[in-house]
Each structure stands twice: as C-alpha cells, then as structure tokens.
C-alpha cells in the first residue's frame, strides 16, 4: 500500500476546535503542507519558521502548527511579524488573520507593513463576519447580509460598501504578491495551496510583502449547514470578491 494522502507533520495531533465544516481547518492544512514541502525540498530549515496567530476563531492556531508560534494582540500580527522578520531575517514568518482582525481593528498594521514592503506572508481568512464573538458585522460583510449587528441586512448607505483588501493592498507600492483564493472545491483548494507556497517561496527569495486572501465559510454564524455555507460563498462572496492574482511582481519581471 502506498500513501496517497495523509495528515502533514507540520500540523500537531491536537484536534481543531473549529465548528463542523469551518474552512479554517482546510486553510490551516494548506499552510502547514506548504511549509512542510519547502522543508522537504531543502529550501527551509525546520527550526526556522515562526507563525503569528491572531485574535479571532483561529486564536488557538499556535496549538495546531508544528512550528514556533507567537500570539499577537487583535490586529497586530503584521507588526509583530515585522519585528520577528527584521530580527531574524532567515526565518520564514507568516501571519494568519481573520477579516475582523486584518480588515477592521488591524487595518493600520497591515497597510503599513505592506507599504514598508515587509518580507512577511499574510494569510487573510475572509469569512465576512466576526466569527469568534458571535457573528457581528465586519467591514467585509456583504450588503444585505444579516448578522447580529445588522439584523435587517447590511445597509450600504449607513455602513459603506464591504472592504476589498486584496484590491487595496495591490495598489501599495511595497506589496509584492497579492492573490485572492477560495477553498470551495478541489481545483480551488489546489490553487490556494499553490498561492500560499508561492508567497512563502517569494519570502525565502527576499521579496516584499505577500498576502493570500482566502474566502472562507462560517456556517455557525451564517446560520447555514456546512454544505449550504459553501454554496452561499460561491453564490454571494465570489461574485463580490473575485478570485485571482491582483499583483505579482515576480511574474511581471519574467
């Protein structure tokens, strides 16, 4: 018997605390597998990896990744990652952040990290809601989407339009590679993994700020079962947040 698929060693044995069907677990695995492959390819030393976990449902990410982890205050992961990367330039440094974390309370940190061209990788998990705190409206919540703080649906006249971070950060001169992905089907899962690995490879080559935005479900706070939530993401999130490469300075040079 040969193994076609097994759990990567870059994930610990700890069981995820996420709700059934929550896409955070899929995204964790893709991050872990990308690091694992870079180590196996001899491009990275196993002891030379630091992840920065956020505040949000993925606050316990430090328990799940089999590498050094740092827990940042809400939204501050890019600032913490900046310090780590500048102090230890040979280390692979990534942040893992939700939309409340990155696009709301931590907007300043990520915008300035991108502006400074910090050599870090940011994994931005956009589920259009504050998951951990009980489903409040986030800056990324879609127009018309019902949350506990927008019970009649988000009103654009009152709250503005949902914020598009990939589009915004691709306009910043210091950013190097920005792609928006989703993990709603097999092909997109494979694409997301390629994007995450490419971003990490760019960092190892000393390039600038890279962010992979991954559209994600929150079945619990969307009030849908996991399969319905995937469908809702496909029908509502992907049309507003188009998938694709927003910036790739590496590809422009070729």
């Amino acid at each position: 018997m040969s193994v076609v698929f097994e759990k990567t060693q870059l994930l610990t044995d700890k069981q995820f605390h996420y709700c059934p069907g929550c896409n955070h677990g899929i995204i964790h695995r893709l991050v872990a597998e990308s690091i694992d492959e870079l180590v196996k390819e001899g491009k990275l030393e196993a002891g030379n990896i630091v992840g920065v976990a956020p505040v949000g449902c993925s606050v316990f990410a430090y328990d799940y990744f089999n590498c050094d982890m740092f827990e940042a205050a809400h939204g501050r992961a890019p600032a913490v990652a900046t310090g780590i990367k500048r102090a230890k330039p040979d280390t692979l440094v990534f942040t893992y952040q939700g939309d409340g974390d990155l696009a709301s309370i931590g907007t300043a940190e990520v915008v300035h990290a991108a502006h400074r061209g910090e050599k870090i990788v940011t994994i931005f998990v956009n589920n259009a809601i504050y998951g951990m705190t009980g489903g409040q409206m986030a800056p990324t919540t879609l127009v018309g989407q019902k949350t506990t703080t927008s019970p009649y649906g988000r009103d654009e006249a009152w709250c503005g339009a949902p914020i598009k971070m990939s589009e915004m950060l691709s306009e910043v001169p210091g950013s190097y590679y920005i792609e928006r992905c989703a993990v709603n089907n097999n092909a997109n899962i494979l694409k997301t993994k390629r994007a995450i690995k490419k971003a990490m490879q760019y960092q190892l080559e000393g390039k600038g700020f890279c962010m992979i935005e991954v559209l994600s479900t929150c079945p619990t706070n969307w009030g849908l079962n996991p399969v319905e939530a995937m469908k809702w993401l496909e029908e509502n999130m992907i049309p507003y947040y188009p998938l694709g490469v927003y910036k790739d300075k590496g590809a422009e040079q070729k």
């Binding site: 018997m1 040969s2 193994v3 076609v4 698929f5 097994e6 759990k7 994930l11 069981q15 995820f16 996420y18 709700c19 059934p20 069907g21 929550c22 896409n23 955070h24 677990g25 899929i26 695995r29 993990v183 089907n185 097999n186 899962i189 494979l190 079945p219 079962n225 996991p226 399969v227 995937m230």
Partner: protein
C-alpha cells in the same frame, strides 16, 4: 484498489467530503454517533472509489487518509 480511512473520533460529520466525492463513495452514518455527538462519514461504496483524494483535501478536520495498492 484504494483504501479510504476515516478517523471517526476526529470527524465532525460536516458532509463536505460527501459533497466533494465525484463517485458518491461516502455517506454520513445514519446509525453511528461519535463521542463528539456527530454522525461520522463512512465509506459506503468502497468499490467505486478512484483514489482522487478530493474528500481528503476538503476535510476541515484532516480526518481522511488514502492509500493505494
């Protein structure tokens, strides 16, 4: 021959693997409950499996292992 093993302790019965399988190999158990209180996924039609690993790639709890003869 392909062998799909589902870790029933870890599985949360989310059904995403059932949705992802192109050959309708998997189903959520109608009789079993695991310690977490979920109906775990089962390999209902093993002979139809083509070993594509779509189920394993979509599983948010990394509960699926796939081997091939």
């Amino acid at each position: 021959m392909v062998k799909v093993t589902i870790n029933e302790i870890v599985c949360k019965g989310c059904g995403l693997c059932v949705r992802a399988c192109p050959k309708s190999v998997l189903a959520l158990s109608k009789t079993k409950l695991n310690a977490k209180g979920y109906h775990p996924a089962e390999v209902a039609v093993p002979e139809a499996c083509i070993g594509c690993a779509s189920c394993a790639r979509t599983c948010p709890d990394v509960a699926i292992r796939i081997e091939k003869e």
